[in-house]
Symmetry: C2
């Protein structure tokens, strides 16, 4: 009765080559974000189910791995529902745990608090190529900063990081939940239907404007609304400066419907874009994207998404969520964050044959069988001295098939060999 | 209905000061072990329950957090036992997952394979001070090396690491499971009772020889056995060289009972001790300890434990386990590993007010309210230039209580301040 060699369904083992890249990237992420004053923190992988199911997680709440109660707390005989069996689960993101953490420790943290998190999250998604049920997220967040200094800092830090990894020419898409609402109001969508409209609008890049309009009508939106969206996006698509165009359109509409007013939010967005462009250290584009929605309904202000060149889907995103801390403490605290697609970046770097910069010199000492203990000690001392001088040195037995052994070690990054023979 | 601010029972949030130390220590661990040729790998946090309950985990198997099955697999109505509810759980150590990993990927890995793992494990222990239900382990293992070159390398690498962290004068206790068996045989313990005897012997440092002998008799061992152990340990305690003394005693005993023979194992242990001493790069002691047992019954040869000066309990340990790979593949592969007490080390370093070496220069730019966007851009550019030059620079709003703000930032490591005022 042999044991099971495979990882559990949908999760994966990290092989050495990928692991070395992951460690390198995590190091680069931490150094870069820390240079902007973000402080690393960590929360438990397990979180209370009450928090995970508090509607902060959107569809992810359907994908929770729940942890079975233990001992006396588990009353198997009388259990009727899953709630009787579990009161904790594996976190599906780093945002809910961060906000809980901030609520618990605010008194001990600087204000504003700039947090940096890198760690695994878990979602019971249908397993598919390149998508796993355990994967790393990497988030930075600023809690306690209500001005757009937060958005600007998050975007500058993240663009600096992407530049250091070697990406350039990427696009930061930016929008604002409040501008989206004004757009919806301008198109005669009722407030209760905003989210429904946004979910459809979010598909613009996949199904195009015609697809969006068709789906809107299929979902019960009026012809009037669909036509208003068509007219709005026709104008925006023709405009050189989409944000200025939208500003003008909404200014007109707001005369009839005050809910269509978004002048302050548009000015705020423009300031963020200008500030990021002005202080940028790498080559990228920041682009107002009126179709950007972001899945989570906890966003309350600006939202962003990162597009890496030639990549179908987003490689990160985030936004402002000023009302989540209040869910824990009763008192709202302004909050804003961005999450970069760690696994996405790893996949791209591996596919592009990314070479680590400044790798240490790696020498393997191959020792023939029969070398005496005295000689072994000399070899080990030589290795220790080389390590002191900054090299990596592997001391290992010389295999019978030395050629194959060297080939294999070369793949692992051992570029030089020294051989020791028995006398 | 506010959400829950606290971490789940028995788990903890890592605050910034500790987190910075943890990141530093993990970096030092990885750099050091990698310089000895250990390759970082990672396995999922979730492992199949069949593997976790395969008797490789000793008492830890009672402490597993099980993960609830999902969707159609969870048949709540017909569930009779926990097995019907869960088929996976959170790993309680890194050894079982490593061996599964090796069994799955051996063809892609160098031989011997030197693995390095750092990551969280989970045990539903009774929560108590300094003990948590989620904690990090840090293991190195060599798979595929049957000679004592493995033990020597593990101990040299680990002592080098401890030295780099700043520990000295620590003690590496060493013994061998086969020597323990020979000692038991020499004291007329029947083979089936070996483990029972070892569990009692393991308490020597807590209850002393008299306590051990009393407990042996209470557990049904004969007076003859208890007296034999008393005589054996009296001789060993008086001996200058315990290993030589034991060698002589067992040589005599082996004449009557072949099971008391351990000459080869003793010679092997001596070679390991001599080799480690000869090539050591820091000041520590390696000491044969005939009472060292180690909890896990999967050990098949040499076993070790690390004692840091002034610490009640062990700060790490390990040993040879040549029969675990076979549980997965049907074919045994020699294996040997050592785990250092990561959380233990963090606790000690924090208590001793450990200062990180070579910290980067950390400057905070405090910006008064009312500074224009143009000035902000200049400030952000100045910060970016300083970061390029290797500094950490925090750009943050100047609080009304500037003195308090600076005090708080100082605690977070920001040692210099530059102030920018609105004109």
């Amino acid at each position: 009765m042999a044991l099971n060699k495979n990882p559990v369904t949908g999760m994966k083992d990290i092989l050495p080559r990928e692991m070395i890249l992951r460690d390198y990237l995590i190091g680069l992420i931490k150094t870069t974000y820390e240079s902007f004053g973000y402080t690393p923190i960590e929360t438990p992988v397990v979180e209370s189910l009450g928090n995970l199911l508090s509607k902060q997680g959107g569809d992810n709440e359907k994908l929770i791995f729940k942890v079975l109660k233990r001992g006396e707390k588990l009353k198997l005989e009388s259990a009727k529902t899953e709630d009787d069996l579990a009161d904790s689960g594996l976190r599906y993101d780093l945002t809910v745990p961060l906000v809980r953490y901030f609520a618990a420790h605010a008194a001990e943290l600087p204000k504003p608090f700039k947090a940096l998190q890198v760690g695994p999250v878990f979602r019971a998604d249908r397993p598919q190529r390149g998508r796993f049920r355990e994967f790393y997220q990497c988030d930075i967040d600023i809690l306690g900063e209500g001005t757009n200094a937060a958005e600007t800092d998050l975007l500058l830090a993240t663009s600096t990081l992407l530049g250091k990894v070697g990406f350039s020419g990427f696009i930061l898409h930016i929008n604002d939940r409040r501008i989206l609402k004004a757009m919806a109001a301008a198109c005669c969508v009722e407030e209760k239907d905003y989210d429904k409209a946004f979910i459809i609008l979010d598909k613009m890049d996949k199904i195009g404007l015609d697809g969006v309009l068709r789906e809107m009508q299929e979902s019960g939106f009026s012809v009037l609304t669909a036509e208003a969206f068509r007219s709005l996006f026709s104008s925006l698509n023709e405009a050189e400066d989409k944000l200025a165009s939208l500003e003008a359109i909404l200014r007109e509409k707001a005369k009839e419907n005050p809910l269509a007013k978004a002048a302050d939010e548009i000015a705020n967005l423009r300031r963020i874009m200008d500030s990021v462009r002005a202080a940028a250290t790498v080559d990228f584009e920041i682009r107002f994207d009126p179709t950007l929605v972001r899945g989570m309904n906890y966003y309350t202000g600006p939202i962003f998404e990162i597009e890496l060149a030639g990549l179908g889907s987003a490689a990160g995103g985030g936004g402002r969520y000023d009302e989540m801390v209040g869910k824990f403490t009763g008192q709202n605290v302004p909050a804003c964050g961005i999450s970069i697609g760690f696994e996405r970046m790893i996949t791209i770097l591996l596919e592009n044959g990314y070479e680590l910069p400044e790798a240490r010199k790696k020498r393997a000492f191959l020792v023939e069988k029969g070398v005496t203990e005295e000689e072994m000690t000399m070899i080990r001392k030589e290795a220790a001295a080389a390590r002191m001088a900054g090299e990596d040195v592997l001391v290992t037995a010389m295999n019978k098939n030395k050629k194959f052994q060297k080939e294999q070690l070369s793949k692992e990054g051992w570029t030089e060999f020294k051989e020791f023979f028995a006398k």
